[in-house]
């Protein structure tokens, strides 16, 4: 028998045996014992195939649903096989075995507690006892893999089961776990951390936390800084961690940064470095261990710094983070690390010198430190430190050594610092630091926009778009921007060879233009410059061979329409008609969807917001233009035509969006117009026929030049709601239907075998 069929049979038998009556029936025929019992598959040659072992364990997992199954597991010797499968060479089998043990333990305890009171009487049922014994034995084993397996089972158990018996379980095993911490080296440290956290999070164990905290405190002292870091972060996230432990845990997280700052401090020291909050770093036993790790090798140093920075970044926004938050020293540390990586920090101490050499040019630490620095922008800061931050960001943005990925992060961090920079109340101007920084920024942007790396050009354009979206109205910003070449360069990048960059340039130029920050024309006050951008964007929309720039253009146009951009407002109808005409021919369905979005914004402007079903009906005063007039213009602009054509689109999202738009229109026009039936109006009948034929799987063309009446009639007589429901179903429902599945199964038996090899 093929191993795949055998594996399937095992799973199938398990599925059947999940029902108690079915189980009894199969057991009578001794089938279960043959498949899952001691003398079963382990004796087969196929047992060496991982699929068979996996099938066996999945079968058992399905079967283990009722008390009969538990007896079977304990008596048939299956549990012992599960124990041995925990160490299986296949990751999947080993993991499934552990999960099955957790499930069996829980099921067994649940079955034991189903007395009249439903409470546990303190006696371990046979199956649970067996598992407990195995766990205790494993925890005392000298073989690390066995300890890991036991710890993993316990972690899952405490994570999943919150019944009172788990407390007794912990009480029994806690001393064994604590003993693990006394060994050198500590075995399975990673799993041990997971277990301690899982127990700490369990709501069922609140009364036995005393011993847990002791174990955690000990672990924080003895584990390596990398492992202790994960435990410390987990502890700090707990809502009910004792204060002393929080102090110890935070100390563990701060230690590596404090070491870096200490090692590089020049007397009297840069700002912030000696201002660690009192208490946090007192008695941190791990200190020398941390220093050793930091200085032992480059990979260890990079590893611990990256981890610590990421952990502090994760902690910073949480409400339960330690208070007072040492913002200033952390900022100082982040800046120091960035300087060390950049080579602009020096140190006379030997440790500092080693750190300089280790971190110089290290991209991984640079990225982590920049991310962390970005997070710190959300806090209050002193002017002096803000100056430091902007200085280091300047170094990074301007340095020719910064890699594209580092530059991208530097731009993101800069944006966060600029946007969160405090303003003087009542004064619209920027603070002194951002202002100084802006003056240096634009020449850098100018240089970076000409970078040979597309990643850099793109990141700058993304940064520029974001910044002008927020600061477009800022006088200082406008002055600095307009005094630079940046707007001109942005416009030039509309012709970039890289499509991603063209798309970002479209977004940036669109944003600058809507803020009146476009490139200065040759002669001032020249209206051609503006017209130029609109023309250029239209040209991109109709000729660019890539989808991204075309999509970006329609997005910019939609934004312009929404914001009442001067060029659009000058002749909105011409604008809409032109854009829709180009968009309707586009091969990229996302461009067509965005075209429909543009049409919808236009309709909302003309007809008012869609009715909210929960809103008290208000008189239709919102609609500025009378409906017949709007309908006329819609016909003129061929917007109806565009939307109906989109309804027939072979790409589902386009049809869906068109349906949404037409439903909105139908709703708005429900109260208006004549009572003519669809069949009476020229054009609408053939439109109907087309729609019907389309539904039957054929393609067709709508008759052109429909009049408003015909459109209204077509709109009313089309089952848009039904169509919307059909479109909302993904095409998977076809593939997932039992019919389709059966056909595939039957087919696989036959012809396909030969072809399978040609995968990809």
């Amino acid at each position: 028998m093929s191993s795949r069929v055998l594996s399937f049979s095992l799973r199938l038998a398990g599925t059947f045996a999940a029902q108690e009556d079915c189980f009894l029936y199969l057991q009578q025929g001794e089938l279960l014992l043959g498949l899952f019992g001691e003398g079963g598959p382990q004796c087969w040659a196929a047992w060496s195939v991982p699929t068979v072992r996996s099938g066996w364990i999945q079968g058992l997992r399905s079967l283990a649903q009722h008390p009969c199954a538990l007896h079977f597991l304990a008596d048939s010797g299956a549990v012992d096989t599960i124990f041995s499968l925990q160490g299986d060479p296949s990751l999947f089998v080993a993991s499934a075995a552990s999960q099955l043990l957790v499930h069996t333990l829980a099921l067994s305890m649940q079955a034991g507690a189903t007395g009249c009171s439903g409470l546990w009487d303190g006696v371990w049922p046979a199956c649970a006892q067996k598992i407990m014994g195995h766990l205790e034995e494993s925890l005392q084993s000298t073989a690390a893999p066995q300890v890991t397996q036991a710890l993993n089972v316990l972690t899952s158990t405490f994570g999943r089961c919150h019944s009172p018996w788990t407390e007794t379980l912990w009480g029994q095993l806690c001393p064994l776990v604590a003993r693990l911490l006394e060994r050198t080296p500590i075995p399975a440290a990673h799993s041990l951390v997971d277990l301690l956290l899982s127990v700490a999070r369990s709501p069922a164990l609140s009364s036995s936390h005393g011993r847990l905290w002791e174990a955690v405190a000990q672990a924080l002292r003895c584990l390596s800084p990398m492992q202790a870091g994960s435990l410390a972060l987990g502890m700090l996230k707990l809502p009910h961690c004792p204060q002393a432990l929080r102090v110890q845990a935070f100390g563990v997280l701060l230690q590596p940064l404090a070491c870096v700052v200490k090692a590089t401090a020049q007397a009297p020291g840069p700002p912030g470095c000696s201002m660690w909050p009192p208490g946090w770093l007192d008695g941190a036993e791990g200190s020398s261990l941390t220093v050793d790790t930091l200085l032992s090798s480059k990979s260890a140093c990079v590893g611990i710094l990256c981890q610590t920075l990421a952990q502090l970044e994760e902690l910073q926004p949480l409400p339960q983070r330690p208070a007072p938050w040492p913002q200033e020293p952390l900022l100082g540390a982040a800046v120091t690390i960035l300087r060390l990586c950049h080579g602009s920090a020096t140190s006379s101490s030997s440790g500092g010198g080693r750190l300089c050499a280790t971190l110089a040019g290290c991209v991984r630490v640079q990225r982590a430190a920049l991310d962390f620095l970005g997070t710190l922008s959300q806090e209050t800061r002193s002017q002096e430190l803000e100056k430091e931050v902007f200085a280091v960001l300047s170094e990074y943005l301007g340095s020719p050594d910064s890699s594209p990925t580092v530059l991208k992060k530097a731009f993101q961090t800069t944006l966060r610092w600029l946007l969160s920079s405090p303003r003087t109340p009542g004064c619209p101007d920027l603070g002194p630091q951002p202002l100084l920084f802006l003056r240096e920024l634009f020449p850098v942007l100018q240089k970076r926009l000409c970078s040979p790396s597309w990643e850099v050009r793109d990141s700058v354009l993304e940064f520029l778009t974001q910044l002008s979206r927020h600061w477009g109205g800022q006088a200082d910003f406008r002055r600095a921007l307009l005094a630079s070449e940046v707007p001109t360069l942005t416009q030039q990048l509309l012709q970039d060879p890289e499509s991603y960059v063209r798309a970002s340039a479209v977004a940036a130029a669109g944003q600058l233009s809507s803020r009146g920050l476009q490139a200065a024309p040759d002669s001032p006050e020249h209206p051609q410059a503006q017209q130029g951008l609109l023309g250029e964007l239209l040209c991109i929309l109709s000729t660019d061979s890539e989808g991204f720039p075309r999509r970006a253009v329609v997005q910019v146009f939609t934004e312009w329409l929404r914001d009442g951009h001067a060029d659009v407002a000058r002749d909105t109808e011409w604008f809409i008609a032109t854009v829709l005409q180009v968009v309707s021919q586009d091969l990229d369905w996302e461009v067509r969807v965005q075209g429909l979005e543009l049409a919808q914004v236009f309709l909302v402007q003309r007809l008012g917001q869609p009715r909210c079903p929960y809103m008290v009906a208000l008189p239709e005063a919102a609609s500025a233009t009378p409906i017949p007039e709007v309908l006329q213009s819609l016909c003129r602009l061929r917007l109806f035509d565009f939307a109906f054509r989109a309804l027939l689109d072979c790409d589902r999202p386009v049809a869906q969006k068109a349906c949404e738009l037409l439903l909105f229109l139908k709703d708005k026009t429900a109260m208006c117009g004549g009572l003519q039936e669809a069949g009476d109006i020229p054009g609408s009948a053939s439109g109907q026929v087309t729609l019907q034929r389309w539904r039957a799987g054929e393609q067709g063309q709508l008759p052109g030049d429909l009049q408003p009446e015909a459109m209204l009639a077509l709109l009313r007589s089309t089952d848009l709601e039904g169509l919307q429901a059909r479109l909302a179903q993904s095409s998977d429902h076809m593939e997932k239907s039992p019919q389709s599945l059966l056909q595939d199964m039957l087919a696989t038996v036959g012809v396909l075998g030969e072809n399978e090899a040609d995968c990809y």
Partner: protein, 571 residues
């Protein structure tokens, strides 16, 4: 991490790898130094944006220049199909693909790239598709070669894979065609052309669903040449936009194509076709024969499916599937012989057109895989990307022929390989100088032993002189002396015996410095000889010979010499 692909057969969680097996609770970036992508096929790079932008890997990604250029196109295609057809909302976006591509570091063939202080990688040409590469990964003296997918025979547009005799500790090779010795490709091509020709001759239409780049270009070259030779006028179309794009990339990366294309490129670009024109949706309804290449390749959505629906009802027409189709797709259904397909909207589509399957996929066959193993001369081989039964066959063959261990782990299985790494040891200049001073320059054929003290400090090893080692480690020196007693029959006084010993040694050991010290003892180099009276027998003198560890040889020699007795003094 080598490759980051997806399973095209699944639409749920199973489509992407379960990365939690790598990290458990930690962050991916802490566990991985880099990701290496071998080529642009989705089963090798399809999960990349999910991995880097949704799961949170933030490190570098390495791939070749053509892969870097083409990968985002395929990812974007795939994304659009997933969102369009399946209506998936929680999927990676275009922005995520872009952000992911920004993390890519492109590499050249045969360029050694230093990932960090310890890890270096190097790409080799793999054939298979444009830009496909095999990677050698090296840490210290240990190395692994990962082949990705490769092809050992050149085809119409690509060359054959090639690798150095780099003798890696481990070669991880694909084994798609592990047991097959592929029939000649020419036969398959002839068969393909015959089928297409027959169909258009009888007025039928031929649909060839393809993916934008790769096999499609090869088939285009094939048809173009055939049309030219047979002077055929039937139109051939290729999905709009894609021809230009494909051409653009083949032109850009012309060095990655085979020699013939590179040579002829000077006169005529082989990818600028005379007979193949851009396709317009309206053409599908045109009467008369035609050949259309349309995307996507598995008939699961888009243009190819649309055309298929139109043409399926006519028995004169033909659809040729040039590649594998995953379960659930229309392509899979028709290949498995279904003739009535349930389409969306509860309609049933009756398939009367002819359905043909032809494999043009470019993987190495068993012979090719053996050839590569022979080229690279690995210490161990690991088979992946194949079926267990076939791999078992190949495994035995490799073990027999090359006498190396060959493994074929199932998914999730761990393989442990013993290696004997070379550990570099630095030798101190002082030690070398001292060796030099002793004369005798070492010869390559005649190795010489060098004595010193091995110090492991700051995770590197150095061989230094013992004095320097003591100094560096701050240890005090302890001298170990061996002492031996030699009994001599001599009735004279101790001083006289010593003098006799001195004259004897002086005359015997011409090359050594023999001294008679004022206290009566005799030295030869570091060896000290003292004469003493025997406590019980006045006619016997005891010579105490003591030497240091370093002069062990001389010490033993002297002891042996003295044991023979002294020459009789001239009376």
């Amino acid at each position: 991490m080598l490759d980051c692909g997806m399973h095209m057969g699944f639409n749920d969680d199973r489509r992407f790898p379960d990365f939690s097996y790598i990290t458990q609770n930690g962050r991916l970036t802490d566990f991985l130094d880099c990701v290496i992508i071998s080529h642009f096929h989705l089963d090798h790079c399809g999960a990349l944006p999910y991995f880097s932008e949704m799961v949170g890997y933030d490190g570098p990604i390495y791939m070749t220049h053509p892969t870097q250029a083409i990968c985002p196109i395929l990812l974007e295609d795939y994304r659009k199909i997933a969102v369009d057809k399946k209506g998936e909302a929680n999927f990676f976006t275009s922005q995520m693909i872009k952000d992911c591509m920004k993390k890519v570091v492109a590499v050249h063939l045969h360029q050694t790239v230093q990932v960090d202080d310890e890890l270096e990688i190097k790409a080799y040409y793999a054939g298979h598709v444009l830009g496909a590469a095999m990677f050698q990964i090296k840490v210290g003296s240990e190395s692994v070669v990962y082949t990705g997918d490769y092809n050992m025979t050149p085809d119409r547009h690509l060359g054959a894979a090639w690798i150095d005799r780099c003798r890696p500790n481990l070669l991880i090779t694909e084994s798609t065609y592990a047991t097959t010795i592929r029939d000649s490709k020419r036969c398959r091509e002839r068969d393909f052309l015959k089928k297409v020709h027959e169909t258009v001759e009888r007025g039928g239409k031929v649909l060839i669903p393809v993916f934008a780049l790769g096999r499609a270009q090869e088939l285009c070259i094939l048809l173009e040449t055939f049309w030219e030779r047979m002077n055929l006028k039937v139109p051939i179309y290729f999905s709009t936009g894609l021809t230009e794009k494909a051409n653009h990339y083949y032109k850009l990366f012309i060095t990655w194509t085979n020699q013939k294309i590179r040579k002829t490129f000077v006169q005529r670009n082989m990818f600028e076709f005379k007979h193949i024109k851009a396709f317009d949706r309206a053409f599908a309804d045109n009467p008369g024969p035609m050949v259309v290449f349309a995307t996507p390749g598995m008939l699961h959505a888009g243009q190819s499916l649309q055309i298929f629906r139109k043409w399926a009802g006519n028995e004169k027409n033909m659809v040729i599937m040039p590649g594998y189709c995953v379960q659930g797709t229309v392509g899979h259904k028709i290949l498995s012989g279904q003739r009535k397909l349930e389409m969306e909207g509860r309609q049933v589509l009756e398939v009367k057109m002819q359905v043909e399957y032809m494999s043009f996929s470019a993987h190495a066959d068993a012979k090719g895989i053996m050839q590569l193993v022979g080229q690279a001369e690995p210490e161990n081989v690991l088979l992946v990307h194949g079926e267990a039964k076939k791999m078992e066959f190949l495994r035995q063959k490799i073990e027999q022929e090359f006498r190396v261990s060959c493994y074929m782990p199932a998914n999730g299985e761990t393989v442990t390989l013993p290696t004997s790494p070379n550990i570099p040891v630095g030798i101190s200049l002082g030690l070398l100088k001292r060796e030099m001073a002793q004369g005798l320059l070492p010869e390559t054929k005649k190795p010489r032993l060098l004595h010193g003290t091995l110090i492991m400090k700051d995770s590197n090893l150095r061989l230094v002189s013992s004095e320097q080692a003591l100094k560096e480690l701050g240890l005090a020196e302890h001298q170990l002396r061996f002492t031996c007693r030699v009994h001599l029959q001599d009735t004279r006084k101790e001083q006289e015996t010593a003098l006799r010993v001195y004259s004897h040694l002086k005359s015997t050991l011409k090359d050594h410095c023999v001294q008679h010290l004022p206290d009566g003892s005799v030295t030869v180099e570091s060896i000290l000889i003292q004469a003493a009276a025997h406590s019980e027998d006045p006619g016997t003198k005891v010579l105490l010979v003591s030497w240091t560890y370093q002069d062990e040889e001389l010490g033993s020699f002297l002891t042996a010499l003295l044991k023979k007795g002294l020459p009789q003094a001239p009376s």
